[in-house]
């Protein structure tokens, strides 16, 4: 790297930044100094780019859906699912969210890396990609800037940066938004993008199917819930696109299939109990298609930093997330959706789950070999 960025150089205060761009452009020429002389070709940049690719189908579909929902709200059932026009509308709506999330987050990330004298972590590339997909599309940009700054600093950097955080930073932005600015996170029309002078057509509620507890919005069929042509946060609506991402994540091993499977199992169990007990009319499997369940299970719960570390722990952790999510949906009239809270709660409990798993394992281990 150029000498002016070295210690004592004029631009030393920009070292981490220069280094980040430098390693972004080319794999550095560093060679192993200690231990194993050869190393695997995989690094965190690669893992994170794979995770990012997995989210792309959901993001692209989400942008189209923003446009489609807008056109439904304004034009009524006569709205056409014109792919390009709807996508373009949605793209222009979501782009500012991306810009704000990335600029605010990366400035903080680069700044802290410089203060610590470390290389810049790639973690925020993923966080920043997820944040715009889980907030209402019309959220004021200043609010987004505030919550991203909060989540990055308090949620991540104070613990030591990427890899050290306890809570999923992307979800933390949503939680902060949810509790600090409830007015822009509730009500019936926040999930629909509307222009200043645009009027809703008569009879359009704009609420997500969950908020209506399954009461039929027009065209809220199982099929449209699966495809994702329903109102909701940008990225969360299409179960199909999320499944595509899940396949990639599981195949590459970036995310744990155990967490996904057990989360689905937990949701089915509680949903089933609710259905049998007559608490809800929604069949338990339909719960999986609604709200942020699929998105949370695939992209949020499986975050390797904040999830349980041990294999047994992952089963417990995933199951709890699924079960808690549906429990909040069924029993808490205040919150229509429980995925965010379920994951954040289980993030907090993940170290405890691991502790129990690890200590009980160690206790058993030596019993097995006692006679040998």
């Amino acid at each position: 790297m150029n000498k002016i960025f070295e210690k004592g150089g004029k631009l030393h205060w920009l070292r981490s930044t220069a280094d980040a761009f430098d390693t972004f452009l080319a794999v550095p020429a560093t060679v192993t100094r200690k231990g194993s002389h050869v190393r695997d070709a995989v690094d965190l940049k690669r893992i994170i780019i794979i995770a990012l690719i997995a989210v792309i189908p959901a993001a692209v579909f989400g942008m189209w859906n923003v446009g489609y929902q807008h056109s439904l709200a304004v034009n009524g059932p006569s709205a056409t699912p014109d792919i390009l026009a709807n996508f373009w509308y949605g793209f222009l709506k979501v782009l500012p969210l991306y810009l704000v999330a990335y600029i605010v987050g990366l400035v903080i990330e680069f700044g802290t890396a410089q203060i610590r004298g470390e290389e810049v972590n790639e973690g925020f590339l993923m966080t920043g990609f997820l944040v715009p997909l889980i907030v209402p599309v019309d959220v004021p940009l200043w609010m987004l800037a505030v919550v991203v700054a909060f989540a990055t600093i308090i949620g991540k950097e104070v613990f030591g940066g990427t890899g050290m955080n306890i809570l999923n930073p992307a979800l933390l932005t949503r939680a902060f938004l949810f509790f600090s600015y409830p007015t822009s996170m509730s009500g019936s029309s926040v999930w629909i993008s509307l222009g200043k002078n645009e009027q809703l057509v008569d009879g359009f509620t704009g609420a997500t199917p969950l908020a209506l507890d399954g009461a039929a919005q027009y065209s809220t069929s199982i099929w449209s819930e699966f495809l994702g042509t329903i109102p909701g946060s940008v990225g969360e609506t299409s179960t199909l696109c999320i499944l595509l991402g899940a396949v990639l994540l599981i195949w590459t091993g970036v995310a744990s299939w155990k967490i996904m499977v057990s989360s689905v199992a937990g949701a089915l169990l509680v949903g089933g109990i609710g259905q049998i007990a007559g608490i809800t009319d929604i069949p338990c499997w339909e719960q999986l298609l609604l709200g942020g369940f699929a998105f949370g299970t695939v992209f949020m719960a499986t975050d390797p930093v904040t999830s349980a570390q041990t294999e047994t722990g992952k089963w417990i952790y995933g199951f709890l997330i699924g079960a808690l999510c549906i429990m909040v949906r069924l029993f808490n009239p205040g919150f229509a959706e429980g995925m965010m809270l379920a994951i954040l709660l289980c993030n907090t409990f993940a170290p405890l789950i691991d502790h129990v798993v690890v200590t009980s394992h160690i206790r058993k281990k030596f019993r097995k070999f006692k006679t040998a």
Partner: protein
């Protein structure tokens, strides 16, 4: 109590340059080095001066803490130079080899007729004791202790490792004599592990007076650490010793012939080796004797004494290690790769991870170099990402984090007694965060030694 154990976890590195099964050169180096730094827990005291004459088997160094433990000269000749580093730290004793090799005679003995004490004395006097390594901590064995058992692996699964059958099956008698001797030193006898695939064809399958086990699986199935962990893991306050086949053969030969003979076959291998094959030589041979294997290349070469995962970078002026039976020649990967991490294919790189496509071509061998392929980060992936290559019942990342924190109680819980740094070498290889796990564990072990002594 013989067992057949299948290990499902592990990884065989597909690296180019396996040594052909023939001895291409017999080397009699002009100068040989004895390097005290190779013996962990050994505080060297010099027994020779520059100009002194030594025979094969003459003591050169003694341990300050345990004066009975000696290190002997592998060749006969004259002490040429005593190499010291910073603060006069003793780095090496260089011995100029004489044309005609003369051996110090220790007298033929029948180990079966000797008591444990007599065997110990004989091995100590001939300077062969350093072959015995104690676990936990991987230090020199303490002659005053009686270990639970002694373990030896009769096959090596490390990348490009020397073939144990090829190297040692002609010295089966000596190995057997070594086992007979050592079996008197421990409670639980000598455990020898064989490759399950060659269990019936292996010469070592005929060994007696020991407990045979067989292991099936990828690397690290052939490392003694994994074998102990799967036969009977080490608990607190327990001690086991380990020894290599080379050590058994040397001790056996001492009893059979009364001489110390450390000559052995060493595999010269790796992507940079021209005509990778075996050479016959002694430990401490300078790498410069093997210059023909590198040829006239312009590329920077790394000389690794040992395998690519756990070996030591000795440089082109270095000496082959006392315990090592291979010299791996690697290309230094100090060149940049434009947008490497984002390129979709990157077929020339090997990765265990499905983020790349090398899983599609399992038959391919790769020209690996020493590039780290990324910068150092905090641990991001879970413990289970690492334990998929560690067939041991421990939580590797928990242990590493306990070592980083210097928390002795946690280190004990997570199995510091069971591992040596080399056992985590594969975890280090696959680590996408590019941390030096072996170094972290080595520091943890040093802390344990300091606190528990």
């Amino acid at each position: 109590m013989s067992q057949n154990i299948v290990l499902k976890k592990g990884l065989d590195l597909p690296i180019k340059g396996e040594a052909g099964l023939y001895v291409s050169r017999t080397i009699s180096p002009a100068v040989v080095a004895v390097q005290p730094g190779e013996f962990k827990g050994f505080l060297p005291r010099l027994l020779v001066r520059e100009g002194d004459s030594v025979l094969c088997g003459s003591p050169v160094l003694a341990d300050k803490n345990n004066p009975g433990i000696l290190v002997c000269a592998p060749v006969s000749g004259k002490v040429k130079e005593i190499v010291r580093g910073d603060k006069r730290k003793l780095l090496a004793v260089l011995i100029e080899s004489s044309d005609e090799q003369e051996y110090l005679d220790f007298g033929k003995k029948n180990p079966d007729a000797l008591s444990a004490e007599e065997i110990k004395e004989a091995v100590l006097a001939a300077g062969l004791w350093p072959w015995l390594i104690q676990r936990p901590y991987g230090i020199l064995a303490d002659p005053c202790k009686r270990p639970r058992s002694i373990f030896c692996s009769a096959f090596d699964t490390a990348p490009l490792a020397a073939d144990c059958e090829f190297c040692w099956s002609d010295k089966l008698k000596a190995v057997q004599a070594g086992i007979n001797a050592l079996s008197k030193l421990s409670e639980g006898g000598v455990h020898v592990s064989l490759d399950a695939d060659k269990r019936f064809s292996s010469a070592f399958g005929r060994l007696e007076n020991c407990i045979l086990h067989s292991f099936k699986g990828k690397h690290p199935a052939g490392t003694v650490g994994m074998q102990i962990a799967n036969i009977c893991p080490i608990r607190k306050d327990e001690t086991v010793w380990t020894i290599s086949l080379a050590g058994l053969a040397a001790i056996g030969e001492l009893f059979l012939s009364g001489k110390v003979n450390l000559r052995r076959k060493v595999a010269v291998c790796g992507p940079m080796a021209i005509e990778p094959s075996y050479v016959e030589t002694v430990p401490g041979t300078p790498v410069s004797c093997l210059a023909e294997f590198v040829g006239n290349t312009d590329e920077p070469v790394r000389y690794v004494s040992g395998n690519v995962l756990t070996g030591k970078n000795i440089g082109k002026d270095g000496y082959i290690g006392f315990f090592d039976s291979q010299l791996t020649l690697l290309r230094e990967g100090n060149e940049r790769e434009i947008l490497g991490w984002i390129r979709p294919l990157r077929f020339r790189q090997f990765s265990t991870d499905h983020c790349y496509f090398s899983w599609l071509t399992p038959w391919r061998k790769y020209d690996m170099d020493t590039n780290t392929h990324g910068g150092v980060r905090a641990f991001l992936m879970n413990d289970s990402y690492y334990s998929k290559v560690l067939p041991m019942d421990i939580y590797p990342i928990y242990l590493v984090k306990a070592c980083l924190a210097g928390d002795i109680e946690k280190m004990e819980q997570f199995g510091i007694y069971e591992v040596l740094p080399e056992d985590l070498a594969l975890c280090e290889y696959i680590d996408p965060s590019k941390n030096d796990l072996q170094d972290i564990v080595a520091k943890g072990i040093d802390l344990m030694l300091k606190e528990m002594a």
